[in-house]
């Protein structure tokens, strides 16, 4: 028997199986990837392991002994530590307090020993090689990438035997992704089990020893990661059908007519003199390490930030005052945080889709129900949103379907310029493929797409041209044969400075 053995695990919610008779195993000393589309049961399986859910049937064996996991604290006792996809830090406490919450050392008077706490935190940072972390900074004030690292350290500080990393790389900066992959390897070498979940194939190929695939709550199979691994086979195992090609073939439709342009634009510390042009009919990728101004670039074009410098739209100088203005002038943004900026989670799909064009659907303030229904059904069909009804709450949808609803809302405004912020983050492969096709279709219609992604491969395969940002400036501009991963990553980390920083 292996070191972590799951036997016939089943779990259902109100009659629907989320997990069905799952039997699989992991060995000490391996990094084991769990693959599957959204809704395949990965999260449910993790929650069974971490004690958040109790399985209806089945047993878990750890080092050959039956484990009884009924609560998160039980899981901790068995040495299972889980870094969840949603961050769960407390913004007003310091980094050190967050990491050691519940285990903060005390002085002999019973109050907290801040000196000792600081020492423990610094020791932890040294051990895992994150010197830039400030133990006394408020957790709410550090960057997203650092928050994710903080969460990882919180789990590691408990010295777990089994480490679960659920989409832990999605918020990390590029160099920290490598750090995490190396860390996973190191933990495995120390004899731990690392369970790794990611939607990025490259990471899985780089950092994992074995892959187990789930589909529709069922266990499909396990493959070793080596030179014989057939990625196409893995993908078809996930999807249950043969996938012709993961990325679409692209035909360049870009024109020489600029849709959006920035001339020497600055904003706080985020944008330090940006010069760039986005042409009609083009998909322009935005690359770079996390936090180099990409988010602010997109938000500036959407009127979220008041920037200094010149912004031009269709050759005219404009002042993009707020999102309302942007939408009225045919600019639309697919925002970074789907659940916060993109969707009203407690409201229905119909409300979510029609809200941005509600004024157009109304006559003398009264909403025309018929027009609204037509609009909603048109775009839910176009994007094939899967839901019980258009009244279903957004919170009840899977990640991929939620992203489709956001996309439907954006498209119902009929924009000419699309700003897309990492639209495939946390989205299953099937939906990813649909999104890629959609993005290319939009460009084909002569519309402009500014496409930010943290996945370099995606940028390489989807975009006509890619600009790279570093330190709030455009430091690279690649097109055609120059558009490849090496150039993008090189410019991101500043090895080769190529292309023009003056736009094109």
């Amino acid at each position: 028997m292996d070191d972590l053995q799951l036997n016939h695990i089943s779990k259902s919610f109100s009659g629907n199986y989320a997990l069905r008779d799952i039997t699989m195993s992991c060995r000490c000393g391996e990094v084991h990837a769990l693959l599957g589309e959204n809704g395949a049961g990965k999260s449910t399986l993790l929650k069974v392991l971490s004690g958040a859910y109790h399985p209806d049937e089945g047993e878990i064996y750890i080092s050959g002994e039956k484990a009884f996991i009924h609560s998160p604290s039980d899981a901790m006792k068995y040495g299972i530590g889980c870094v969840y996809q949603e961050l769960s830090f407390i913004p007003d406490l310091t980094v050190a307090e967050n990491i050691f919450i519940g285990r903060i050392p005390k002085t002999r008077f019973g109050s907290f020993d801040h000196k000792e706490l600081r020492k423990m935190a610094l020791e932890l940072f040294r051990k895992y090689d994150v010197p830039e972390m400030d133990p006394d900074a408020k957790a709410g004030m550090i960057s997203l990438s650092q928050k994710q690292i903080m969460e990882i350290l919180k789990v590691l500080s408990k010295d777990p035997k089994i480490v679960i990393l659920d989409e832990a790389t999605s918020a990390l900066e590029e160099n920290r992704v490598r750090w995490l992959l190396e860390l996973a390897r190191r933990l495995a070498d120390e004899g731990k089990i690392v369970l790794f979940i990611s939607h990025r194939m490259a990471e899985i190929q780089d950092g994992c020893d074995r892959i187990s695939i789930l589909r529709n709550g069922e266990y499909i199979g396990t493959r070793d990661v080596n030179e014989n691994l057939d990625m196409d086979e893995v993908i078809s195992m996930m999807l249950g059908r043969k996938m012709s090609s993961y990325f679409p073939d692209i035909i360049d439709h870009s024109t020489t007519e600029p849709a959006l342009e920035m001339q020497n634009v600055t904003y706080e510390r985020a944008l330090n003199g940006v010069n760039m042009k986005l042409y009609k009919g083009e998909v322009l990728g935005v690359a770079g390490l996390a936090g180099q101004g990409q988010t602010e670039l997109l938000q500036a074009f959407y009127g979220i930030h008041k920037v200094n410098g010149t912004v031009l739209m269709n050759g005219q100088q404009v002042n993009i005052r707020n999102p309302k203005w942007a939408i009225a002038n045919k600019i639309a943004l697919v925002p970074e945080e789907r659940g916060i900026q993109g969707l009203f989670l407690n409201l229905g799909i119909d409300f979510n889709i029609s809200i941005s064009s509600i004024d157009k659907l109304s006559h003398a303030l009264l909403v025309n129900k018929k027009k609204e229904e037509d609009l909603v059904s048109k775009y839910t069909n176009l994007l094939s949103v899967k839901a019980a009804s258009t009244r279903s709450l957004a919170s009840e949808l899977s990640g991929g379907n939620q992203q489709k609803v956001v996309m439907a809302k954006i498209m119902s405004c009929e924009p000419e310029i699309f700003l897309m912020h990492d639209i495939t983050r946390g989205v299953d492969i099937g939906t990813k493929k649909e999104m890629f096709t959609l993005v290319r279709q939009i460009a084909e219609q002569g519309k402009a797409v500014l496409y930010f992604s943290t996945d370099v491969e995606e940028l390489e395969r989807i975009c006509d041209r890619v600009i790279v940002m570093r330190d709030g400036r455009v430091v690279g501009d690649f097109k055609g044969a120059e558009l490849n991963k090496e150039n993008i990553i090189g410019a991101s980390i500043g090895i080769e400075e190529r292309g023009a920083s003056s736009g094109k």
Partner: protein
């Protein structure tokens, strides 16, 4: 590796926290210029005694505000304890002690009820404590129909005692601050901040939310009871309606002192300062010969200015966060 924050950094992060102190100093200074008597120890001692009930109520309120809640029932608790003490307390050490303990227990019980109900039923604190407030006010009226009652002399003397020019209330104030500094660094203290900061995360991190919420509201009830007891000694009578004023002014004091309504940041020292600002400003208006009719207007403007400033500070902070 050593990345200690510099003093300047700390200052730029926390300049807002200094505002209430500066405000109090300015008010006291202006009063001193208008009337030098106000700088005398005896005046300050009196002020301390007169403000102490509000200080206690504001301190209690702060615990609840820190969790991101509200306690409108402090007024009701003050009414009940004020009336109970004025009606039942006899002039003997035993009776005084007995009724003081009963009052405090009642305050804690009401607070625990509030905390339990709010956490268990997910009712909004505003509405839940509004209901408790009504019940408490009603109970106070059943104890004492109109203002009155007889307060034992020895009780009054004991609580308004002076050691030279140093009032007992000032000593209690210092003790309270010391206890707070300790409390802030205990598990319960941190849990209160954590819940106010992000309740969902707090729960995920294994913080006992129910227990902490009950504790915070119980502390509020306890301090409201103390405020009622202290008011009895200062005013020397009971009133079934006097507590009503404390609801809004305790929240005002805490907010002026820098506690955020959203929870998670602030503390009782600010609230103490805020309570003194509110009490001093009334006197200042008298000295400036402003008609008492206008005084509520000035208080309102002051409150808006204080919170507008902290709202402005928060936007600055958020902007930093967004980019940093």
């Amino acid at each position: 590796m050593e990345n200690k924050r510099t003093f300047k950094q700390k200052l730029s992060d926390n300049w807002l926290a200094i505002v209430p102190y500066a405000m109090l100093i300015i008010i006291v200074a202006v009063m001193g210029i208008l009337n030098t008597n106000t700088l005398k120890a005896s005046y300050i001692a009196n002020k301390c005694d007169n403000s102490f009930s509000l200080v206690l109520a504001a301190v209690g309120q702060t615990f609840v505000l820190l969790t991101g809640g509200f306690d409108l029932s402090v007024g009701g608790v003050i009414c009940i304890t004020n009336c109970l003490a004025a009606v039942h307390m006899q002039d003997s050490a035993g009776s005084i002690l007995l009724w003081s303990v009963i009052c405090i227990i009642i305050g804690i019980a009401i607070g625990m009820f509030n905390g339990f109900v709010i956490e268990k039923t997910k009712l909004q604190p505003f509405i839940a404590t509004l209901a408790t407030q009504s019940v408490c006010m009603g109970l106070a009226l059943l104890i004492l129909k109109v203002d009155g009652g007889k307060v034992p002399r020895s009780y009054m003397k004991a609580l308004t005692k002076r050691f030279g020019d140093l009032p007992l209330s000032a000593i209690l104030l210092v003790i309270m601050i010391l206890l707070w500094l300790y409390f802030k660094n205990t598990k319960t203290g941190m849990n209160i901040y954590a819940i106010g900061s992000n309740k969902k995360s707090a729960r995920l991190n294994g913080i006992p939310v129910l227990r902490t919420m009950v504790t915070a509201y119980a502390l509020s009830g306890c301090f409201a009871a103390l405020a009622g007891l202290y008011r009895t000694a200062v005013v020397a009578s009971g009133s079934p309606t006097a507590g009503g004023d404390f609801v809004m002014s305790s929240i005002s004091a805490a907010v002026i002192g820098g506690t955020a309504l959203a929870g998670g940041s602030g503390g009782i020292i600010g609230s103490i300062i805020g309570a003194f600002i509110l009490r001093y400003i009334t006197d200042l208006l008298v000295f400036m010969k402003v008609s008492s009719y206008w005084s509520s207007l000035v208080q309102g403007v002051l409150l808006i200015l204080a919170v507008a400033l902290s709202a402005y500070g928060n936007t600055l902070k958020k902007r930093k966060e967004g980019v940093g």
